[in-house]
Amino acid sequence: MSRYAADVAALARKDVLLELRSRDTLPAMLLFVVSALVVFHFSLPEGSSDVAAAGLLWIAIVFTALLGLSRSFAAEREQRLLDALVLAPCDRSAIWLGKVVSIVVFLALAEAVALPAFALFFRPVGWETVAAVALANLGIAGVGTVLAAMAAASRARELLLPVLFLPLAIPIVVGGVGATVADDPGRYLAFLGLYDGMFAILSWASFEYVVTE
């Protein structure tokens, strides 16, 4: 394993270990996504279309992700740990990628509960939805980690993160809903893949400037 990959693995492992011990984020994400789907189930009128239901799934996913992202730099912020991490000689983008990996893991766990719950309340989940969710996770984690790091340095972080993240999540919702309901999900999945690639490069390149003054 290269040094870079080893650094990323160590940082991601650290985040997963912190969550396993503190249980601050994942239980809240699980509770939120299931609660949201239950509320949507009762608020959607009888006989509503599958398209509307698909939209609600993606709303639940995006806001669950926002919940996770808002906690993603909690330890670093509260104990100023980013100072020690940015002083290390490792590539600073490894800090970003480690965080992305851990956020993807948390999102995948939340969705492992959310998708069966969605199938129970609304309609069966097809392979295209699962593929769209997997691609969306990469985009959400990639963009969201940089924005969460920016917000963590701000006093108004609770306000700043949603304000920054939600506009950038619109293409994810468009791609996700499209892939879920369209007859030809391929082009929407390709769109999500393009979004992931583009924002991964931007986020990877910009993270260094976000975590230094």
Binding site: R21, A84, P89, E213
Partner: protein, 194 residues
């Protein structure tokens, strides 16, 4: 090792350092004193590269990763054990023979018995000792210590005294402290900030 000319740092409208000139030679031991708010911690953070000067020049003749930095906070993950924290930093700081180095430091700082305890469960003094282990882990040629004796009991302070004396000949030290008498025997210079 460190050269500052006309160094100034502001946080918004608050001016913390103004027109500061500092020279720290290799293997010098500089003690930075001054009242609360004089800018001691800010100066160390500037030297570490964690803050950018508002005005003036600052040159630090070491690379990132060659600085040992002790801040007010221990910069350790509270939910991880002492050993897990040191292994994480040891990997990120490219410490050769990491296991041996960590074991030696934990022994020297009398923390070996606490190695499996989470940092959040350690007392303030033990966490401070562990923070010093973290700062020294990669054997940095430049050590920036902000109040290294804060929260330490007599035994802990003695351990830090020993450690400072041990590194005296091999590294450059800049220490911000309210207790300059404690390190007077080792210091080669003093910078009093107003």
């Amino acid at each position: 090792m460190i050269r500052a000319r006309g160094l100034e740092k502001r946080f918004g409208a608050t001016r913390v350092l103004t027109g500061l000139d500092v020279d720290v030679a290799e293997r010098e031991f500089l003690v930075v004193t001054g009242p609360n708010g004089a800018g001691k911690s800010t100066l160390l953070a500037l030297c570490a590269g964690l803050l950018a000067p508002t005005r003036g020049e600052l040159e630090v003749a070491v690379e990132r990763g060659e600085i040992g930095y002790l801040a007010h906070e221990p910069l350790l993950y509270r939910e991880l054990t002492a050993l897990e924290n040191l292994h994480l930093y040891g990997r990120l700081y490219r410490v050769p023979e990491r296991h041996e180095r960590i074991g030696m430091l934990l022994g020297r700082f009398r923390l070996w018995d606490k190695r499996h305890e989470r940092v959040g469960e350690l007392s303030r003094g033990l966490a401070q000792r562990l923070a010093l282990c973290r700062a020294l882990l990669h054997e940095p040629p430049l050590l920036l210590l902000d109040e290294p004796f804060a929260g330490l009991d007599h035994e802990g302070a003695e351990v830090v005294d020993e450690e400072l004396a041990r590194g005296r000949a091999t590294r450059t030290l800049v220490i911000a402290t309210h207790d300059p008498d404690r390190v007077a025997g080792l210091a080669t210079g003093t910078l009093a900030l107003a």
